[in-house]
């Protein structure tokens, strides 16, 4: 199999798995997310923290001595995270959840998706226009 086909297949399989997991766990349900953020239900929060703890162990065992790209701290880290946190509270969606919501039939998630698309485009436009806050992005350092 040529590398391009393999990449498409692998990305596709992980997209499918991740979409299903986010739906089965309730991350794509606004009510569940809102209850997590208002600290009135700790199921998702515990799952989230539990995942970080398990991955810590996993990376320690599997990735010792291997070089994994590390995100760098920069001027955009804090203000960007504040904007993202606000957006997540308003929509119940992070960049993957909005897609999973749409998959579940929440047609209104299209508004969120248009917003995300525009937001990504606008930031990249500004960043390349001399604002130069950060160019390293998720998974593509």
């Amino acid at each position: 199999m040529n590398p391009s086909t393999r990449q498409h297949l692998t990305y596709g399989v992980f997209g499918l798995l991740m979409g299903a997991v986010l739906s089965f766990t309730g991350f794509s349900n606004f009510g569940q997310i809102h209850n997590m953020f208002t600290l009135s239900d700790f199921r998702l929060l515990a799952g989230f923290i539990g995942s970080i703890a398990l991955s810590m162990l996993g990376f320690f065992l599997l990735a010792r001595g291997k070089k994994i790209p590390r995100k760098t701290l920069n001027k955009g880290t804090i203000p960007g995270s504040v904007l993202f946190g606000t957006g997540w509270a308003l929509t119940g969606a992070c960049p993957s959840i909005a897609l999973v919501q749409l998959g579940g039939g929440r047609v209104v998630a299209l508004f969120t998706l248009f917003g995300i698309y525009f937001g990504v485009w606008a930031y990249r436009r500004l960043a390349s226009g001399g604002l130069a806050l950060n160019t390293a992005i998720c998974g593509e350092e």
Partner: protein, 214 residues
């Protein structure tokens, strides 16, 4: 059907994070895929430039040397070369042949499209699939419905898109894959976006309650 318990959730999210890294040798990161899809027109330009270098490694070396000389000055480079010439086994390094292969943007698009498909399959399996023209009852109580709700979703979406690019990552890249490796930027980003979401959610919830009473 009830949602998965906290520990099944933890196992599944961690399995995805580790599995993705294991299979693709790069950390999971959805906002990165968004950027590649939105900026897909850049791929063509970059591929063209890289193809030139790949077919002619010497050209790449020359370009690299020129940039190095511009950055550090001719004297420093000359001194380094003289020093290295005296060392055993130092030949010309052809860097052009070691260029990494770029994942095509269509693979990232496949990833995003399959998130929709995965969500649809899981929703169908748990009996939740159906056409919904609202985000649900909780959303209606907090933000109303119709245009008000749609506008909130769009504005929130812009904040998510802009914010994740500015912060260099999102839930998957910073929280799920960066925090377990104790990457400082990821720990900070995770703490900030989570705390912000908690504060904003509590304020909105409070405002809706007060607004509902009066």
């Amino acid at each position: 059907m009830a949602y998965w318990s906290w520990w099944v959730t933890a196992l599944a999210l961690s399995g995805l994070t580790l599995g993705f890294w294991w299979a693709l040798q790069r950390p999971l990161g959805v906002s990165g895929s968004w950027a590649r899809v939105v900026l897909r027109s850049n791929d063509k330009i970059l591929n063209q430039a890289e193809a030139g270098f790949r077919n002619n490694p010497q050209l790449f070396n020359d370009a690299l040397m020129r940039a190095t000389v511009e950055e550090f000055g001719e004297e420093a480079v000359q001194a380094l070369l003289t020093k290295r010439a005296g060392q055993a086994g130092s030949g010309a390094v052809i860097a052009g042949s070691a260029l990494p292969v770029r994942t095509p943007w269509t693979a990232h698009f496949t990833f995003l499209a399959m998130l929709v498909a995965g969500g649809a399959i899981a929703a169908a399996d748990s009996g939740r699939l159906g056409l919904h023209f609202s985000m649900g009852e909780v959303y209606r109580q907090l933000f109303g419905q119709g245009v008000a709700a749609w506008l909130t979703l769009f504005v929130g979406g812009v904040l998510v898109g802009f914010g994740t690019q500015m912060a260099g990552g999102c839930t998957s890249g910073h929280a799920l894959s960066g925090a377990p490796r104790l990457v400082p930027a990821s720990l900070l980003a995770t703490a900030v976006f989570f705390t912000t979401a908690v504060v904003v959610s509590i304020v909105i919830s409070f405002a809706a309650t007060v607004g509902g009473v009066s």
